[in-house]
Amino acid sequence: MSPFPSSSGSAVLVFKPRPSLPAPRQTVGIIGWLRTNLFNGWFNSVLTVIALGFLWKIVPPLMSWAIFDAVWTGGSDACAPGYEGACWVFIFNKFRVLMVGLYPGEHLWRPMLGGGIFIVLAALTVFHLLNPKKLIALWFLVPFPVYWLIAGGFSLTPVDQSLWGGLMLSMGLATIGILISLPLGILLALGRQSNFAIIKSISVGIIEPVRGVPLITILFMASVMMPLFLPVGININNLLRVQVGIIIFSSAYMAEVVRGGLQAIPLGQYDAAKSVGLNYWKSTVLIVLPQALRHVIPSLIGRCIALFKDTSLVIIVGLLDFLGMVKASAQDPEWLGHDAEAYIFCAFVFWVICFRMSRYGRSLERQKKGE
């Protein structure tokens, strides 16, 4: 049918658009991309030039230091003074100490196996290979055999805790800290929401002061003050005390995260639970908490990252965790002058773990939005 009514039946005018011209060459392809993203306007062009100059100044020297001029093989004499590049031999040489501290060599297979189990579990989590319920159960169960492997006892030779160190110690402090502080944090958060004035004020009285002071003061308290609180004659070792300090610190933050989730639950859910005859604990455990926790998983992962980074502070109360071992290695008289390599390696390991965790958190967030 023609779009125009034909009056006489003669030639019918049909609107026929010409084929569209190709987009101007300056707006497509690489040139177009450069124009819209780097050189749109004089201001952005200047910025781009400055940034390129900055990169030119920084990146090539850094690359040649870290890769091309670096020493990858040899002994401590390979990095003679005057050598230009990074001395990665130093890291290879110290690798065992950085990973497990002074853990005795003949039992080295135990932390290695434990670490392997841990890596498998982390991979299962990060790549979404197991369903959430199984994952949570595994995360709460696996630390027991791993702890047994590392600590010994029950047919394995016990290894004294003063010999633990390195990345193993950091991971251990963080994992146990998170797994214990999460339930405690949930209890504190429920306490804070409670209608019993006394329980509420006790919860607030724990959460707010702990959140208001630096972790260092709590670690000092655990390390210096806690022995004074125990009955005369009873001693618990520094590692356990520090772990308790970390748990207390983390619980307060976990509580605030969980509270956010609790506040997001509509009141109708509580009413519905009540109307089917559930009591407080049943409605909390079966109805409220599962929803509240699902709501705050991304922030919980944020807390895990923060706590893992915070475990590096234990060096101040005399534990040699990963950062502590890195610092101690950098001060080894046989390998003086390799602070940069030591700290960059440490930063790299922390970065890989934390960045991966934050990506995981983001993927969960996206999943939640997709639901």
């Binding site: 005369v232 980074k309 940069a340 700290y343």
Partner: protein
Amino acid sequence: MNISLRVLRGGRLTGLVLQLVVVAGIIYFGYLLFRNTQANLEARNIASGFGFFSVEAGFPIGSTLLPYTPADTYGYAFFIGTLNTLYVAFFGIIAATFIGIFIGVSRVSSNWLIAKLAEIYVETLRNIPLLLILFFTYSVVLVSLPGPHASLNPFFGCFINNRGLYLPKPLFQEGFGFVLSAFILGIVISFVVSRWSVSFRERTGVSIPSGWIGLATITGLPVFTYFAMGSPLAWEIAVLKGFNFQGGIIFRPEFSALMIGLVLYTAAFIGENVRSGIQSVDVGQIDAAKSFGVSKGSIMRRIILPQALRVIIPATTNDYTSLVKNSSLAVAIGYPDMVSVGGTIIGQNDQAIEIIGLWMAVYLAINLIASAIMNWINSKAKLVER
């Protein structure tokens, strides 16, 4: 939420009993702690109470804002440490805010390269521990600076070497008070002018460039007074004497490392707040403003910022309190802040309970004050609903 009371069988009475039991438990626990502590303190011969505050400290402190000698008391030493904490916190917050805003704005820049660089900065610094950054700055970056004889001299009177950063020290001569008063007068005048210009614009519709007028009075008045009084300001410049520089203002490497680490780390977090704040503003609003022909600067000042601030301020308040708490990491690189000085005191007289209690009290107080100020600012920025 009245659940706990009503749902527990027995209601009010059970609740009361439960609470009483908890209170009794806590009192008993507290009593046990108290008794144990008493016994332990006696067994270890540790004094209690704050009597030690008037005892001579006997240890030196590296950098102080007020004059201090080892002959001063423990109390004064602790006070010096507290001042250092406040000093780091105050300037750290200011610097981190500026760099954080810069990072956040770069994150949303239309320039791909700048946005990428800012993203790399944020993702790197947020995912490594602050303590590591401090160690790195202190024992890699600052140590690699040249020695005093080969000091960097970026501008007249400023020297940078591995012993510290030296700046010229202002020496106020007689009459400088007038310059200061002129400066304050300038602020007052510009405030009055901006108030008046708003009401003038509302009455007549004519807008007065009050910002420029204010800038002119605030800078012009003091400069005029300065020259009128015959330049009452001299500079003391650091000079190399023997192995080291003398005179001027010195920032020691411990302070610089702490400042650099704290500020760069916190700026990454503030940058993320700024980014999410700016991105929370609906693009349609900006398009609408553009279609009215509102200038770019005005769009930023009058449309984006007021809305973005509502997202930025609460999150940034948290980062400020983190910065204050993180300043306690000074102890790890030897800057004498409150925790470091307190730690030295504990090492000398074992009075851990008093010192740790004081630490907590001071940090709580600082954080309460900081969040009160930020809440006040937030209430100003909040959406005013009718």
